[in-house]
Symmetry: C2
Subunit: 462 residues, 2 copies
């Protein structure tokens, strides 16, 4: 617990209007979108500028107080849960878009800018920042970088790390470090920017971000293809990509989400099929037409039903169905254990088959939506954490699914990070020497382990 | 100096056929393409597998022997010069392409594979790895990663770091660390891969590389546009990119290279103009046609002369002229001081104007070719290191040009890295806290500083 004198000090740093401490308020900052763990912080502070972050961290470091950085709190691996109590450092009052440059194709923002607001501001200028995690309406740019966010568009455009040009980071001792610059190429020294990108708030607090942008695609089209066999769908994806077309999105929906597609596709198709591919191409109008035709030609050889959305409205309905998947699944069970393994593209069909067999063995419902174009799946096991026996079966199934993915040459996390959720798998998913190296880096940047303690690796010596 | 007993030990590790030690042989490994510094190694060893790299490093680490990793030796900032003597660890006998997967769009290679050989093997499969440094015919994949190589195609496709999925790295103490995997998305722990990418051989020796690939573009077209004013050329580049077309290459040639274009473009155009933009678009044939037309429409508003290469042969001639630039400049002077600063796109015209003024002030010839599309220039000052007075003036001009770039919000190196060449500028180009952090990382990964000693930062305590 932090005593009153320490909280008074925090009030002096950020102003009393920027400190929360009632229990009711602490509850709101005790969990994230993972919805499995929670822990009350002692206090929530809202810095409004870099200097305040610096003073907060200096004070916390000198007093050994845990600090959990938090933006929108939308992450799904436990990253922003203050599992050791202490301070929640919430960046949502640092929400300025500092600059958008159309000429330089870059933008500089504060960490508390909401991704959707940023995307809308860019769209006004004909610009584009591709990462599009499902939490876009609430997640903040600091989190997008600290979690190295992905999303459907990352198939064509890559993940957040591929867009970071410059960072200002406040280190655990309060010192402010400026990294990178404004240009798309920069070979000045080690890639320290990348150390903080995806570090889940454990190495520093990101206080300013410069991002590379792209010209916004002028046009897009959406294709829906329905398959009755997952292996065939997987081969179709491969055939599309091998034909030199890289769609902007190739998403996968299984029958759990078919209700959302009712009225959009003929019922007889949805009733007997096992999955839907939602494909988007974007670019110049002429490009989009050519690529759509090419994808159609390929899909027609393999799919039960193929349809191009007639207009943006129809396309939007399909994407809404995809977007609703996660909340849809959540509405059907008390607890969802939602993984995000990624497997090589040629193992997609094996992965889904083996995953379904595992769920059947453990007698738990499972859904397999995901970013099939890049092999990144979100297998979601539906369970109830209050029903110990069922929950244990669900966890065992998840354990098996992670083993299946790793055995197929896949990785533990494609997008969500390790946080609290995947700590217990880290040792089998990562070279022990790499874990040792990560810990050494943690030690040099945060020797007192005040930053987001209890995350990424299981505590033994920590 | 390494004594005979130590060399005997190295012979035991790699076999005597894989050890060179005569002075004549050492000379061949004493320099790189920078052509300014040189230093003889004591011995050159050619490991043929990871285990041998491991044993070499373990032995060198225990005996405090400097080890300079080297591939093709084509780098241009002094990175592979054994400035402290010791061992050259040359990876050219580890030249296997282990796997190319069209389905997974990835490939795994040993570090000694020559980039051009790799690109040709990929082309056979309809695949594509974009980085295309001018040294492609001789540089090796280990160097491409350790130097985080760029090239013209990086405008559209990004640099080497954006393609690394997995690395096997041998640490200074000989331990082998496996990082990343086979999938395009991976959020398992810190981005340690990125620490070794661009580390210039100072943190570990890369022994295996897994790369993300793209489907090869089906078609391409080349546009030549001649301008009489650099600001207008800069604005044209901006207008093209703002029109939602991202060309695969936008290169810049000044009058120094015009001789190579004789016969390809009308003489009267080249005589009075000041620069040429070479633009390439690629993709599906339909896309290429649409984008070419769009670029033509824009160029016609601004350029003195615009021409689309009629066929691949004509396009190849233009690109050969661009490719010959560097050797062309070299043929005109004993010493070339070739920088690679990068400036924000809206500062391109200012940068060239101020750079030319500086060269005039110091009375030295200068050429300004480069990757204008991303603001990365290779201003080359023509001088003669044997003529002390001229050489000093050339260096002063280079100093000024770097200051000009930094003052315009640019960065010290866009592609070539720091090596030996840019050490003296590092302190003004990088936050002291970032340099301190780099040194701490060096200390944890290579505590005895055996790996490529004397590079990146100036020696004070080292």
């Amino acid at each position: 617990m932090i005593d009153a004198r320490k909280i008074e000090k925090l009030r002096k740093i950020v102003g009393k209007e920027n400190v929360l401490e009632s229990v009711e308020q602490m509850v709101a900052y005790s969990y994230d979108a993972t919805n499995i763990w929670s822990h009350l912080p002692d206090v929530v502070v809202f810095p409004t500028k870099t200097e305040e972050i610096s003073e907060i961290l200096k004070f916390a470091n000198e007093n050994g107080i845990p600090v959990t950085p938090r933006g929108g709190g939308t992450n799904v691996s436990g990253g922003s849960i203050p599992i050791k109590g202490g301070i929640i450092l919430c960046t949502t009052k640092m929400g300025r878009i500092i600059e958008i440059s159309k000429t330089n194709l870059n933008a500089t923002v504060e960490p508390g800018v909401v991704l959707q607001d940023f995307q809308e501001a860019l769209a006004m200028e004909g610009l584009f920042f591709p990462p599009d995690p499902q939490s876009f309406a609430g997640c903040t740019m600091g989190g997008v970088i600290a979690e190295n966010s992905g999303g459907p568009s990352c198939l064509k455009y890559g993940v957040a790390k591929q867009y970071v040009l410059g960072l200002e980071v406040v280190l655990a001792d309060g010192r402010v470090m400026k990294l990178g610059g404004l240009t798309p190429k920069n070979r000045t020294g080690y890639e320290l920017i990348m150390l903080f990108t995806g570090s889940e708030g454990t190495l520093g607090v990101i206080s300013k971000i410069t991002l590379r942008l792209l010209p916004a695609p002028r046009a897009s089209k959406t294709i829906v293809a329905v398959f009755s066999d997952v292996a065939v769908a997987g081969e179709t994806v491969t055939a599309i990509i091998a034909s030199s077309v890289l769609p902007s999105k190739v998403e996968f929906l299984d029958s759990w989400t078919f209700e959302k597609l009712r009225g959009l596709l003929p019922d007889y198709v949805l009733d007997i099929s096992q999955l839907v591919l939602l494909i988007q191409v974007d670019g110049l109008p002429q490009t989009v037409d050519a690529e759509t035709q090419q994808i159609l030609d390929i899909c027609k050889q393999w799919a039960r039903e193929v349809r191009v959305a007639a207009d943006a409205d129809e396309a939007e309905k399909y994407w809404q169905a995809r977007g609703a998947h996660f909340s849809d699944i959540h509405s059907r069970a008390h607890t969802i254990v939602n993984e995000d393994v990624s497997v090589p593209r040629d193992k997609i069909a094996d992965f889904i088959r083996l995953g379904r067999e595992s769920a059947k063995r453990h007698d738990v419902p499972i859904s397999f939506a995901g970013h099939v174009g890049d092999g990144n799946f979100h297998p979601a096991v539906l369970t109830d954490s209050r029903d110990k026996e069922h929950y244990q079966r669900a966890l065992k199934c998840v354990d098996e699914i992670i083993d299946i993915a790793l055995n197929l040459g896949g990785v533990l996390s494609g997008e969500h990070g390790i946080g609290l959720e995947k700590q217990r798998f880290l040792k089998k998913a990562m070279d022990p020497l790499a874990i040792e190296t990560m810990k050494k880096i943690k030690d040099i940047l945060d020797p007192n382990h005040i930053l987001n303690p209890g995350k990424i690796w299981e505590e033994s010596k920590e």
